[in-house]
């Protein structure tokens, strides 16, 4: 029987929304379960950088993530990729970069761009 991990509450500061996330699932999985449209579900491997967040408050555990999207200095300031972040307490976060932009994606002018 699989042990269910502890569940923590994650608040998204920008939208005043929150979701529950288990200790053994990453923040992006929890966030996607909210069923909200526009949340980019990318590579889930820390490589593409689409799920960038900033942790304002709380404890978390991190996996390896691409330095192209979160550099060392940003890490110190709380930036992380949601798919490489596992909650260890209740969290307060902000969505940044593509993650924030994607919700209001502008119309493309040239097919792919």
């Amino acid at each position: 029987m699989l042990m269910r991990g502890r569940r923590w509450l994650v608040e998204i500061e920008d939208t005043d929304e929150s979701f529950r996330c288990e200790e053994n699932e990453h923040l992006l999985q929890g966030m996607l379960r909210m069923g909200k449209k526009g949340i980019p579900s990318g590579c889930h491997g820390g490589g593409c950088g689409v799920c960038k967040i900033r942790i304002l408050d709380g404890e978390a555990e991190f996996g390896v993530m691409s330095a192209e999207h979160v550099n060392g200095e940003e890490r110190e300031r709380g930036y992380a990729l949601a798919c490489r972040t596992w909650p260890r307490s209740d969290l307060r976060i902000r969505v940044v970069g593509k993650m924030a932009r994607n919700v209001l994606r502008p119309k493309r002018k040239y097919g792919f761009v």
């Binding site: 994607n102 493309r108 761009v113």
Partner: protein, 317 residues
């Protein structure tokens, strides 16, 4: 098609964040086998149906993406001809000694207008397929995972910004045609007058593509694809991925462009992989290229819905 010149895709060198996880993915999911490793910790793998020693190189790095892509040329004499032709085209070429690429003869290294590094070589040690050349069974029993046949092609995202006059899709395509003898099989044309080449599929063999270029804000790797026989293999491959919690981007379906049967999924570092099955059609330099217009471009990419699926444009390494 070439029986001389550029023969086929040779290998792709991928940057991975976690080597152990990457190796597990390319062996137990894709069904490749490790054939070598070097002093820098790079790992070399091949698919069962490939004759050359490796088609994927994994390199540990702090960023995901592609280090370089390589194509195999029929002979060393032709390799030298290409060195000259690439230079004449106006692109610098580094001539590398044998052994610069593990188990390979001399190689050429150059940078495409899009910024991607490409190599050509004429010789790579051959280990043969897993079934041999005498009375071979149709597939090997001792390969795990989805038993991909071979590395089939790669799709490179190329900087496209028409307002600034930047179109490295068109520039790459022209270079591949004029300097390396690839031919255009399909293209997407966009813009108010439909005269901006926003994506191209090009071949040097008779498959519908050996490389593809798609316009993007920033250059990078969209995916590298591995060949499976047919539709049912694609279905079972997706089953295997789900059983193993592989992150699938787009479930089995058909591309309008190339007619391939596809799954998009990610390796554990976020590099997109594809399974590509089916012949598509018999490509040939004298077959007129197919054009997809801007209003039908998603029909071209995902034929059934005609809509963007997964994170085709927003996620790549």
């Amino acid at each position: 098609m070439s029986i001389s010149g550029v023969l086929r895709i040779g290998h792709i060198n991928l940057r991975v964040l976690d080597m152990e996880a990457a190796l597990d993915h390319y062996t137990n999911i894709l069904g490749m086998k490790q054939t070598d490793a070097d002093d820098h910790g790079n790992i070399y793998l091949k698919c069962w149906d490939e004759v050359d020693k490796y088609s994927v190189i994994l390199s540990k790095a702090d960023k995901a993406g592609m280090d370089h892509i390589a194509y195999k040329v029929a002979s060393e004499a032709e390799l030298n001809t290409y060195a000259q032709r690439i230079r004449d085209y106006g692109i610098e070429v580094a001539e590398e000694a044998a052994g610069t690429l593990l188990s390979c003869g001399p190689s050429l290294r150059f940078t495409l207008p899009s910024g991607h590094v490409m190599r050509l070589y004429a010789e790579k040690e051959q280990l043969g397929t897993a079934v041999g050349t005498t009375n071979p069974p149709p597939w090997p029993t001792d390969y795990p995972g989805i038993k991909a046949h071979w590395l089939d092609h790669a799709l490179l995202m190329c900087e496209l910004n028409p307002e600034k006059g930047v179109n490295t899709v068109a520039r790459n395509s022209e270079f591949m045609r004029d300097a390396l003898d690839f031919f255009l099989t399909e293209q997407v044309m966009v813009g108010p007058d439909g005269d901006i080449q926003a994506a191209t599929w090009m071949a040097c063999t008779n498959t519908p593509h050996d490389i593809a270029f798609v316009g993007a804000p920033k250059s990078g790797l969209h995916h590298c694809a591995f060949f499976l026989d047919e539709w049912y293999d694609v279905l079972k491959a997706a089953d295997w991925m789900a059983m193993n919690n592989v992150k699938i981007d787009v479930t089995p379906q058909r591309h309008g462009i190339t007619r391939g049967y596809t799954i998009y999924f990610f390796d554990p570092s976020g590099n997109r992989n594809e399974t590509f099955a089916g012949l598509g059609y018999m490509a040939s330099p004298d077959r007129p290229p197919i054009t997809w217009t801007e209003d039908q471009l998603w029909r071209g990419i995902f034929y059934h819905t005609g809509e963007e699926a997964g994170e085709f444009t927003s996620v790549y390494t």
